[in-house]
């Protein structure tokens, strides 16, 4: 593992570095989307790539998401490894048919003859004061579609390592970038990661907080606050929603006997429901309380001045922890 010279790197810079290193490592990698060329993307994730690698490797397209993904499919069929950017979560919806009918199914339709090693980068979730259509947590649409891997980093290291792993994957990967964390900083190591493995970010014995992407830092904050209440919380960062690392999650819940799932997306039929159901099926006799969920409300994403009411907060997580039937155990 190499440690970079600079003391602090932002998640945005780590993602840029991952794209840069992938372009260098594999001549089949091509990057395209809206404003990813001269501008470097609206979040600057592709900053300087066209300048340094040329128009053939990183280029702007017409403003049409189905077109971006549809042509990426053809390129992947013909031996390239496209990494496309959907500018914002809600802007990815026009590409949904290409995604569900072709990206997710091509390997299956052709019994493995045609595979689509491509990455769809989606800046997602809220907390940045974006106006409507700029803050959706759209992961449930993707995880419900067999054939896709769905990955989301919460740390600077994972942003690099998971994006490199996604680009190297033989399967299509939805790479969800929590835009609120783009500017979070850490000393970066250029490590590797395996898609499908969750990480225990904090060890604890009282209860397990299960989070991913933008809610991992919130869960860690809640765990620190909980110490004063006498709770020693374990925090799991899923990193990969599909494949879902049931082993790591179940092992933790068997140990702690209590769990809270935390995500920003609306709760109804959300990914948290799947986690709660699966963990209950596997760990029922270890549970002291039903698994709780702290999620966004079942509403369209709120306007910027109201979004703080919607987002899972430390207080809401602690309230959920408090509800886990402590007196009865």
């Amino acid at each position: 593992m190499t440690v970079t010279a600079e003391a602090t790197t932002s998640m945005a810079q780590a993602l840029n570095r991952a794209l840069r290193d992938a372009l260098t490592a594999d001549e089949r990698v091509v990057i395209f989307g809206e404003d990813v060329g001269a501008l470097g993307g609206v979040f600057r994730i592709t900053d300087g790539l066209t300048r340094d690698f040329g128009e053939q490797r990183c280029f702007d397209t017409p403003l049409a998401e189905a077109g971006i993904l549809g042509t990426a499919i053809g390129m992947a069929m013909n031996g390239l490894r496209p990494v496309v950017e959907m500018q914002f979560d809600a802007f990815a919806y026009p590409a949904f048919e290409q995604l569900t009918s072709h990206v997710a199914k091509m390997r299956n339709r052709t019994r493995g003859k045609v595979t689509l090693p491509l990455v769809i980068r989606v800046p997602y979730a809220g907390g940045i004061g974006g106006v409507e259509h700029h803050s959706d947590s759209s992961e449930a649409y993707y995880v419900h579609t067999p054939g896709l891997h769905v990955v989301t980093p919460s740390t600077v290291d994972d942003a690099y390592a998971l994006l490199r792993a996604a680009i190297d994957s033989p399967d299509p990967v939805i790479f969800l970038e929590p835009k609120r964390l783009y500017w979070s900083k850490a000393a970066q190591s250029l490590g590797t990661a395996t898609i499908g493995q969750a990480a225990v970010r904090r060890e604890g014995r009282s209860a397990t907080l299960i989070a991913y992407g933008p809610t991992v830092p919130t869960a860690l904050d809640a765990a620190r606050e909980a110490e004063s209440e006498g709770w020693d919380l374990e925090v799991i960062d899923l990193r990969s929603l599909v494949p879902f690392d049931e082993e790591t999650v179940s092992a933790s819940v068997r140990k702690t006997g209590r769990a809270v799932v935390v995500h920003e997306a609306q709760g109804f039929a959300g990914f948290g429901a799947e986690i709660a159901a699966r963990v209950t099926e596997r760990c029922f006799h270890h549970l002291h309380a039903p698994i709780a969920r702290v999620t966004g409300f079942d509403i369209p994403y709120p306007p910027p001045k109201l979004e703080h009411h919607h987002l899972p907060s430390v207080d809401r997580i602690l309230d959920a922890v408090a509800s886990l039937q402590w007196d009865e155990s």
Binding site: G70, I73, Q98, K105
Partner: protein, 365 residues
């Protein structure tokens, strides 16, 4: 108020289709148009004829297999064979086809085993052939979506320094889909070597062309993307062959995509499940029957002395053998392995899929 100076637009533009569809052979089997225009060599004409006959016989057999319950459904190409045969033979075998569900005759013309072509419709699996072995993408059901794949595939070919051309098929109904528009636009902007072939058979299942578009012709849409549009008589196999060949060579030389609209007609219903009498008249069908692409071409070839009774009989016998072989092999029930359901979702099954595969295997014991 002053009047705006009026500059008279030219009556035609190089990107617009000509005033009448490109046609070489009329419905009576006579050549039409510029007499100095050369038709293909007799050997190629015979090959076009042979493929038309075999393609039609295949189509008829597939319809019969559907009536016998061997196929779940079959979207017939009857009447549209010239579009599919002419287009495929105009390309190199390494040029990629991006077919829809109606292009079964095109795939058979590409020499894909007809049993593998019908895997989808028999319900054994989705795509039954190896796309890389035949340079043919899986037949696509969601309308116009695969036209974008054709463009991306063509772009990648250029990046890799290859001179592959891709052919994107679509029907008239699919021209209303957004993906069709995006594919033409991407192809134009990136100068992709893609030929778009719209088989305009007048109906999207039951909905007539007038409900799809108000454009003078579908090929007129091309000028909106800055690429040439061409209208051909889709029941004239020589016209289709020539238009696709010219467009493919233009694309191969680096001059970009072309939109070709082939005017044709589906003589059968949309599929066996469709009742075409609800939306079109017997008179209309009869008119188009007289424009039959195969009968017309055979009249022309006999008139030109390229075909005689013996040659016709020989091709007919070949087509019968082809159909008999297909019938025999389609009567055999293939062994299907339910484990395949889980084998090709990901390169490696997820832990959850492994559990489900084990569950199904246990149920089957």
């Amino acid at each position: 108020m002053t009047s705006t100076p009026f500059v008279e637009a030219p009556a035609t533009h190089p990107l617009l289709p000509g005033p009448i569809p490109l046609r070489f052979v009329d419905e009576d089997g006579h050549t039409v148009g510029d007499p100095t225009r050369r038709l293909p060599e007799p050997s190629l004409l015979r090959e076009l004829y042979r493929r038309l006959v075999v393609g039609r016989r295949f189509d008829k057999q597939a319809t019969a297999l559907t009536k016998q319950g061997r196929l779940a459904v079959y979207p017939s190409s009857h009447g549209q064979e010239a579009c599919q045969v002419g287009a495929v033979l105009a390309l190199r075998p390494t040029d990629w086809l991006f077919p829809t569900y109606r292009e079964s005759v095109a795939l058979v013309t590409r020499d894909i085993d007809p049993v593998d072509v019908l895997t989808l419709l028999r319900g054994d699996w989705h795509c039954g052939y190896d796309p890389y072995a035949h340079a043919a993408a899986p037949q696509c059901t969601p309308l116009a979506t695969q036209t974008l794949h054709a463009v991306g595939f063509a772009q990648a070919g250029r990046v890799k320094g290859e001179d592959t051309v891709t052919l994107a098929f679509a029907g008239d109904g699919a021209t209303s889909e957004g993906d069709f528009h995006e594919a033409l636009n991407f192809a134009a902007v990136f100068n992709a070597p893609t030929v778009f072939l719209v088989q305009n058979n007048g109906y999207a299942i039951s909905v007539p062309l007038s409900r799809q578009s108000k454009a003078p012709t579908l090929a007129h849409k091309a000028i909106g993307y800055g690429i040439p549009g061409v209208v051909v008589d889709g029941n004239d196999v020589v016209a289709v062959y020539t238009a696709v060949r010219d467009a493919a060579e233009r694309a191969r030389r680096g001059n970009g995509p072309t939109l070709i609209e082939a005017m044709t007609y589906r003589l059968d219903a949309h599929t066996n499940a469709d009742d075409a009498t609800r939306y079109r008249s017997d008179d209309e069908v009869e008119r188009w029957r007289r424009a039959d692409p195969l009968a017309r071409f055979e009249r022309y070839l006999r008139h030109e002395g390229v075909l005689d009774d013996a040659a016709v009989a020989e091709v007919a016998a070949e087509a019968e053998r082809f159909a008999a072989d297909l019938r025999d092999r389609m009567n055999a029930e293939p062994a299907l392995d339910p484990a395949d359901l889980f084998a090709h979702v990901y390169a490696e099954p997820t832990p959850q899929l492994r559990e489900q595969a084990a569950q199904l295997a246990e149920e089957l014991q």
